[in-house]
């Protein structure tokens, strides 16, 4: 057991990880966000969405280091008296949840279609890949908006708010599957000509079994790399949709919603309401991006 653990940490991945301070910093930031989001109820100093705890008199308090600041509200409050820091913590939770779920959906859909298209070939592959190509010509955000719009007309009014997050996940998830499909198909095309796949076919294994047990594990590596970048993009997409007002409902705001809300007050002088959520978003996306960069280099055998 200890030998296995030692072997795990001895892997080249960790060595290149430790060598790059930027990557370590990025990982720490991402970890901080993840933990904060996970443990939001305990991390956030206040619960910003409990109307009972809000006091309108606290509204528009600037950050603690300014002259009118209040040590109770480290980063100030917004127009409803909600602690900005707390809204960021809770907002990150939504952003990360939607981000992860959307990426999982895109990756699952994309890999399934990509691997099967690459392995089975023929008309099926042609259809799937043309679908992917067509969708790629349309900007992702438009696709997400469309799916969002369609879903909202289908979902009954009462369930709108509750379903909003899942509609969002669906929208962003479907808008991004072609990327994963293309990558998965490309890797599959390379791997399927290798002799270990031929050996599996000689054994008479079912194609589905070959795809799941042999091709899938070999495809996961590159998918993981673009998955981290995809996570960053999904978070931004969600922020964009929420900013545009078609994302999560205001009762459970994400970072995007917060930025939108704060935007209204930017020019009347309450700059902190939009600035800090924006900084948080930038930091999170940057950290995830850097991690993805490192993963890509770590997986690239030529650079090792």
């Amino acid at each position: 057991m200890t030998a296995a653990i030692r072997r795990f940490f001895d892997h080249d991945l960790w060595w290149s990880f430790g060598r790059s301070p930027l990557t370590v910093a990025a990982a720490l930031v991402t970890l901080a966000f993840l933990l904060a989001a996970l443990f939001a109820p305990w991390v956030a100093p206040h619960d910003p969405f409990d109307p009972a705890s809000l006091d309108l008199l606290d509204a528009f308090t600037p950050p603690v280091w300014t002259e009118r600041g209040d040590p109770r509200f480290l980063l100030g409050t917004d127009d409803q008296g909600r602690c900005v820091l707390s809204t960021i913590v809770w907002g990150s939770r939504i952003s990360l949840l939607v981000g992860f779920a959307a990426v999982l959906l895109s990756a699952a859909l994309g890999v399934a279609l990509g691997v099967s298209a690459g392995y089975l070939g023929g008309a099926y592959e042609a259809v799937v890949m043309r679908l992917a190509d067509v969708q790629l010509t349309i900007p992702g955000i438009l696709v997400a908006l469309t799916i969002n719009g369609v879903a909202r007309t289908l979902v009954p009014r009462e369930l709108q708010d509750a379903a909003a997050i899942w509609v969002l996940v669906l929208a962003i998830g479907i808008s991004d599957w072609p990327k994963y499909a293309r990558l998965a198909r490309g890797t599959t095309l390379v791997e399927k000509n290798k002799e270990y796949i031929a050996a599996a076919r000689v054994m008479g294994l079912h194609p589905l079994r070959i795809m799941v047990r042999h091709l899938l594990p070999n495809v996961i590596g590159p998918v993981l790399v673009i998955g981290t970048i995809g996570l960053a993009l999904a978070i931004i997409s969600e922020a964009t949709l929420s900013f545009l007002g078609v994302g999560v409902p205001p009762t459970t705001p994400s970072l995007g919603t917060l930025i939108r809300i704060g935007n209204d007050f930017l020019f009347s002088g309450e700059w902190w309401i939009t600035l800090f959520p924006s900084l948080a978003l930038v930091l999170l996306v940057l950290a995830v991006n850097l991690l993805g960069d490192w993963l890509r280099d770590a997986f690239n055998p030529k650079l090792r």
């Binding site: 290798k194 050996a199 054994m203 008479g204």
Partner: protein
């Protein structure tokens, strides 16, 4: 000759469609183009023996191998295994009992093992695929037995392929091939990618296994020296046809077909007799557009008008079967 040969092949052929994409063809009014990789091959392999197919790239030997194990469907002809013809349209489940009895070893030790699987799982895959073991401990035992049989240790089962050298990986491939207790092994250039000393180990291993387990081998190779060591009967292929088929001793001491003579002439002379060889000029023509008549005639020093027009049929000559007009007409020096 009471028992039927384990493997027999009649008129086996395979062509590939190398036409341009449909739309391009339509616009240019081009007909389909075919690559005749295998153009009618017949042979039989008695049980417990080794038959070799030799030839250079493009001769079709690998295609024949792949058709035998079911990786490719024949375009024509039939394959008989233990007397029973194999039905190309049979489903996977119906073919499973036959598949279990024939396995394949591949050329590239680096691509023939799934890099993400542990060695024990790789070796046990046929056991799982054919449902040959009842429980985990039986599976573990059988894997250990197989690893030991190829000269590795059971502890190697928990490692990954990249931790092994080329020769060791080839041993793992052999262990996997033996898992389902096959009767017939197709070996596609099993040692071409290995160093000479490692090759010796693997060839010796293959011989030992053949003796112990009564295996029948089809050996695909371009290396005549390896073939002379391992094979009982040899078929020489050129552009999709067998041009000479003979018992090994006969082929190497009395080669008849001009191409066979050419191939033997190219084997380097380690006994340093320093004969000044005159290698035959020219290269293997493209199989898409083979020469008319005898496919070898452009490179053959004995080609005549008949060779350019008429394709020779295989005829018995001594213990061999040779497809050559010059041999038939007795024009060749002995």
């Amino acid at each position: 000759m009471s028992a039927p040969p384990l493997v027999a092949v009649e008129g086996l052929a395979r062509r590939f469609d190398v036409s341009r994409p449909w739309l391009a063809r339509l616009l240019a009014r081009e007909p389909r183009r075919w690559l005749q990789a295998v153009a009618g091959v017949d042979f039989a392999i008695p049980r417990g023996t080794t038959m070799a197919l030799v030839g250079e790239s493009g001769c079709g030997k690998s295609t024949v191998a792949r058709m035998l194990v079911g990786l490719l469907a024949p375009s024509a002809g039939r394959i008989l295994f233990d007397g029973t013809p194999l039905d190309p349209k049979a489903g996977r489940k119906a073919m499973a009992p036959v598949r279990r009895r024939m396995q394949m070893i591949f050329q590239d030790p680096y691509a023939s093992l799934d890099p993400r699987w542990r060695v024990a799982d790789i070796v046990a895959e046929p056991l799982d695929a054919f449902g040959l073991v009842a429980c985990r401990s039986e599976r573990r035992e059988r894997v250990a037995e197989l690893l030991r049989a190829v000269g590795l240790s059971p502890a190697d089962g928990s490692k990954y392929p990249h931790e092994f050298s080329g020769g060791q990986r080839q041993r793992i491939s052999i262990a996997r091939a033996l898992a389902s207790r096959p009767d017939f092994l197709v070996c596609d250039e099993p040692t071409s990618a290995l160093d000479v000393s490692v090759q010796a180990q693997i060839l010796n291993l293959m011989k030992d296994l053949q003796e112990r387990l009564g295996l029948t081998y089809l050996l695909i190779s371009h290396n005549l020296a390896v073939v002379s060591l391992m094979a009982d009967r040899v078929g020489v292929m050129y552009l999709g046809r067998i041009v000479e088929f003979a018992p090994a001793e006969e082929l190497f001491t009395r080669p008849r077909h001009p191409y066979t003579r050419l191939l033997l002439d190219t084997v380097p002379d380690l006994d340093l007799r320093r004969r000044e060889r005159v290698p035959v000029a020219g290269e293997v023509p493209s199989p898409i557009d083979p020469p008319a008549g005898c496919a070898f005639h452009p490179r053959c020093p004995w080609a005549n008008g008949r060779c350019r027009a008429e394709r020779p049929q295989p005829l018995p000559v001594g213990a061999a079967r040779v497809a050559c007009h010059a041999v038939e007409e007795g024009r060749l020096p002995a």
